[in-house]
Amino acid sequence: MQAKPFALIGVNINCHEPRQLKEVMEKEQLNFRSFTDTADGEGLGVISSAWNLMGTPTLFVIDHKGRIRYSRRAVPDQQVVDEVLQKLIQEAEGDGK
């Protein structure tokens, strides 16, 4: 997957300082890049609010043009996410050529 036009990006919703988030991710052995959300003063994170977050896990798949193409506000279905990613990666590769 490394060479493909694909990136897994996290948004940690717990509004840690970056250093704290790094510790959490090391402890949990998580190896992707993640935003850390910032508290908005009303008990929510700025990013989480903007994305109308209801809970985790929540996934969005965004295509190479920046459009939302899939979302899932629950435990993801492996097969569907795989299919969507494959299709969109093919689209991205097609456009890149």
Partner: protein, 404 residues
């Protein structure tokens, strides 16, 4: 995760009773005592498993605990069944059979999705508790089927079958449907009957959804077979949607006219919301939305139907854009109706219908499939500033997560 294990524990604990003072008693234990001892043994093993699971530190360790310590209920179930077979009709037999059907569990091979990303192995294990729904083994099927037979034969009028009926709502086999029908015919308890009818409706809805899916996409056969077995697949491949739909409509009408009026609006609201989490509940929700006489029920059904349609439109990502647009438009209409006409109706766990509907309308207009992703601008775990749009040109899987 803790909450989920807690839920299972409570269930198991309710059903277990401290073993009698067998040590002082020289006589061989009665079947009832044997039954209690078996349940206690299972309960103890389950508690030991939960403790060890909590103590395990890494995802790998937890996975190992699941593999090694998870007490399979089918082993306990087969011993219970043997006991019931020798002593049919006794009071403990009913408890044992209910235990078998409500604790039936499916410990399956854990297949982490996204094997190259540790993150998703973890999500999978945490959310599924290491269990995966799937086809029961031949042995498990036999246990289940015998337990159903015996309940049907000896205990069909029991007032304690509500929970069993509810569980059978997610089953797909003919036997469980037969038990539910028998409960509707013979059980005197209104409460048990309501749950049996809801369960039958859910079974019908699921069957219909699969039949339609198989017609639309023959490729789906593989996953249907994987999930429900070859026999069921073949039965559904032979089924014709139209009469099945008519049958479902009759059942839904029976449910709404005869049984649901006995249920409090709050319970029906909860049912509507649960329908969001089952696949293809559109038809049943439409029936509730158009046929239930109570505004507080229709409001919640209207909201959830709007939500389900939004999800259906989003799912068209691999399908037809025109169809997606049409579903999207109907979803917007329903959500607006929910926000305006039914604003005061109460959902079971999402607050007033109006507020939830407005929040869903925001999703529909800004966060649904086809919309431009809102910018995310923030810092990463190294304190480095970056933006979601930095990844333009790449497909991004944006994952909102929490370590809690």
């Amino acid at each position: 995760m803790d909450r989920m294990v807690g839920g299972i524990l409570v269930l198991v604990q309710c059903m277990s009773v401290a073993a009698a003072d067998e040590a002082q008693d020289k006589r061989p234990p009665t079947p009832e005592q044997q039954c209690k001892a078996l349940l206690k043994e299972y309960d103890d093993a389950f508690q030991a498993y939960t403790r060890t699971y909590r103590e395990a530190k890494t995802a790998q360790e937890k996975q190992q605990v699941i593999h090694e310590k998870y007490p399979r209920p089918d082993k306990c179930a087969s011993k219970l069944l043997e006991l019931v077979e020798k002593n049919p009709g006794e009071a403990f037999a009913e408890e044992a059979l209910i235990w078998i059907l409500t604790n039936e569990d499916r410990l399956r091979r854990i297949e982490p999705w996204y094997a190259h990303e540790t993150r998703y192995e973890k999500i999978w294990i945490l959310t599924s508790g290491g269990r995966q729904m799937g086809v029961l083994s031949k042995e498990e099927q036999d246990i289940r089927s015998m337990a159903i037979d015996m309940l049907l034969r000896d205990h069909v009028a029991s007032p304690n079958l509500g929970r069993v009926a509810e569980m059978l709502g997610s089953s797909h086999d003919k036997k469980s449907a037969a038990l539910l029908r028998a409960i509707l015919d013979k059980n005197p308890s209104k409460e048990v009957k309501v749950r049996a009818c809801v369960a039958l409706a859910l079974q019908m809805q699921a069957r219909l959804a699969i039949v339609k899916q198989l017609r639309a996409d023959p490729q789906a056969a593989k996953s249907v077979e994987q999930s429900y077995g070859k026999e069921y697949l073949e039965e559904l491949q032979r089924a014709v949607p139209t009469p099945l739909e008519a049958e479902a409509e009759m059942l839904f009408a029976e449910l709404i006219e005869h049984y649901l009026p006995d249920m409090k609006p709050a319970s029906v609201a909860l049912l509507c919301q649960q329908l969001y989490y089952t696949d293809d509940s559109e038809m049943l929700l439409r029936a509730l939305y158009t046929m239930d006489k109570r505004d507080e029920v229709r409001g919640v059904a209207c909201l959830v139907l709007g939500q389900v349609l939004m999800r259906n439109a989003d799912r068209q990502v691999l399908g037809d854009a025109k169809i997606a647009e049409k579903i999207h438009a109907e979803s917007e209409k329903l959500l607006e109706e929910a926000a305006n006409k039914y604003a005061e109706a109460k959902t079971a766990f999402d607050g007033p219908v109006g507020r939830k509907a407005r929040s869903e309308l925001f999703d529909l207009r800004h966060l649904s499939v086809g919309m431009a992703a809102p910018e995310v601008d923030g810092v990463d775990q190294d304190g480095k500033q970056f933006k979601l749009s930095d990844y333009r040109g790449k497909v991004v899987l944006l994952d909102f997560w929490s370590e809690h």
